[in-house]
């Protein structure tokens, strides 16, 4: 069907493309390098088009989202009613505890460290692209360094932690989600106080793992998990204290393991992010709280 020359040419083309792809992978592996700046430049050029396409396709996306939501609505409704009832009770108890804590703090002259959301200056941004892999690793937003976005700033969505900024250009920024395999967030279960590290279960964006929680701590399902904002003299967590992450959905008590593994359902729907907020400031340390 083909002569030898055509066959040789065809094979040579394939080999050349495969070799070029391998060279590109080798050069750009790990990010950065000359290809990193080319990528950033290309993203800056195309981000207005992507932004427009994102807005234009939003009605279609919403339609499919609405269809999916309608199927889940009935179950969600009952679940949310239960949750509201339990949160009302919890709120009353918390208010009392907070008033007591403020009074005691005033008595002993303790300085208070602010947590989320005080002093964090959130900047709202639209999600313009999502990484095409199945690993839920990154998204890109339509705000960049011109809007005060910097690398390592925390990103929240729907009241829960979503990730952190990992790359910034003039008009857009890349956010690595907490479901990325490289992600690790120091967190605390409230009101229990048990600390651990949140790691993702790769490929399962609605199930995070709070690992390294000591076995002695008894944890209840539906307890809230927040960032612990770990800080010492030398290092501190990039996530300020008190950002809600999710609720405890299950606790694995394996007798062989040293630690218990706590499953968390994140507050942010990491499969469907339309808007996020970037916390462009860290909460500072406030002066002594006046005694009420």
């Amino acid at each position: 069907m083909f002569d030898r020359k055509t066959i040789r040419r065809r094979r040579a083309v394939l080999i050349a493309f495969v070799a070029a792809a391998m060279v590109l992978i080798t050069v750009s592996f790990g990010g950065g390098g000359p290809l990193g700046s080319i990528q950033q430049g290309a993203q800056d050029v195309v981000s207005p088009i992507e932004n427009g396409a994102n807005r234009a396709l939003k009605p279609v996306r919403d339609l499919f989202g609405w269809l999916g939501d309608t199927f889940d609505a009935k179950g969600d409704n009952e679940q949310l009613r239960d949750e509201v009832a339990s949160l009302r009770k919890e709120l009353a108890a918390r208010e009392t505890a907070r008033r007591d804590a403020d009074q005691l703090r005033g008595l002993v002259g303790l300085r208070r460290t602010d947590g989320f959301p005080e002093g964090t200056n959130p900047v709202a941004a639209r999600v313009i692209t999502r990484s095409p892999t199945v690993w839920y690793s990154t998204i890109r937003i339509n705000k960049g360094s011109g809007d005060g976005i910097r690398v390592d700033q925390p990103v929240i969505a729907a009241g829960g932690l979503a990730g952190k900024v990992t790359r910034v250009s003039g008009g857009s920024a890349q956010v690595t989600l907490i479901t990325d395999s490289s992600s690790a967030v120091s967190a605390q279960v409230v009101p229990n106080g048990a600390n651990g590290i949140i790691k993702p279960e790769v490929g399962k964006p609605d199930d995070l793992l709070l690992d390294f929680v000591q076995k002695g701590r008894r944890l209840r399902e539906k307890s809230t998990v927040v960032t612990s904002g770990f800080a010492s003299d030398q290092v501190h967590s990039i996530f300020p204290r008190g950002i809600p992450v999710g609720r405890v959905s299950r606790v694995d008590l394996d007798e062989v393991e040293l630690y218990q593994r706590v499953h968390i359902k994140p507050f942010a729907d990491l499969r469907r992010l339309d808007f996020v907020q970037v916390l462009t400031q860290r909460p500072g340390t406030q002066a002594q709280v006046p005694t009420p």
């Binding site: 069907m1 083909f2 040419r9 065809r10 083309v13 394939l14 493309f17 495969v18 070029a20 792809a21 391998m22 590109l24 992978i25 080798t26 050069v27 750009s28 592996f29 990010g31 290809l35 080319i38 990528q39 290309a42 993203q43 195309v46 088009i49 992507e50 932004n51 396409a53 994102n54 234009a56 396709l57 279609v60 996306r61 499919f64 989202g65 999916g68 999600v127 313009i128 692209t129 999502r130 990484s131 095409p132 892999t133 199945v134 690993w135 690793s137 990154t138 890109r140 790359r167 890349q174 395999s181 279960e201 790769v202 490929g203 399962k204 199930d207 499969r271 469907r272 992010l273 339309d274």
Partner: protein
């Protein structure tokens, strides 16, 4: 395909549109836990009508655009899509299939090859976790099924865009071949001399 500036413009525009629509719209549209993926369908479409060399080149270009705009490891998508384009092109060259519904299985096979191979490559490069949730495979299956549903119109669109720059349109050639002869060269009906 005839490698003219017009051909590059047409295929380049098609790829750019497909990648932008994919990243900004379809990639974020959750349908039954998966999403539509136009990129492997467009690459397979070009390869199906234009052959293996054009398919490999289109796959490489599409991958390059995807990696560039998604900010992931460059070359990973190019490697996989180049293989997908070459494979589909070779299938067409060797078998010269004639059924009008063939884009459906071709699109499904191209998407399956893409999601599996790209999942494996990106896992090795960027993830490397010890344990992976089974949901990933469910999402891959849903994506293949959704792409199967839209393969026919996408292939039709691709054909419409690249038809003016095709050296030989396989569908047109086939139609000419299959047309019943009204008469032989000497004007004798049914005579094939």
């Amino acid at each position: 395909m005839i490698p003219t500036p017009g051909a590059f413009l047409r295929v380049g525009g098609l790829l750019l549109a497909a990648v932008i629509v994919q990243l900004s719209g379809l990639g974020q549209m959750r349908i039954l836990g998966g999403h539509l993926d136009f990129v492997p369908l467009v690459v397979a479409g070009v390869a199906y009508y234009a052959g293996s060399v054009s398919g490999a080149a289109t796959g490489f270009g599409a991958g390059l655009l995807l990696d560039l705009l998604a900010g992931q490891t460059m070359g990973a998508s190019s490697l996989v899509l180049c293989a997908v384009g070459y494979g589909v092109g070779r299938f067409r060259e060797l078998r010269d299939p004639s059924h009008g519904l063939l884009p459906i299985p071709v699109g499904a096979a191209a998407t399956a090859g893409w999601v599996l191979a790209f999942g494996a490559v990106s896992f090795m490069l960027d993830v490397g976790a010890a344990k992976v949730s089974g949901l990933v495979f469910r999402e891959m299956v849903v994506t293949v099924l959704l792409d199967t549903l839209v393969a026919l119109p996408v292939f039709g669109l691709v054909r419409r865009v690249i038809r003016p720059v095709l050296a030989v349109d396989p569908l047109e050639r086939r139609r000419r071949r299959q047309r019943p002869r009204e008469s032989g060269p000497l004007g004798l009906r049914g005579m094939e001399v």
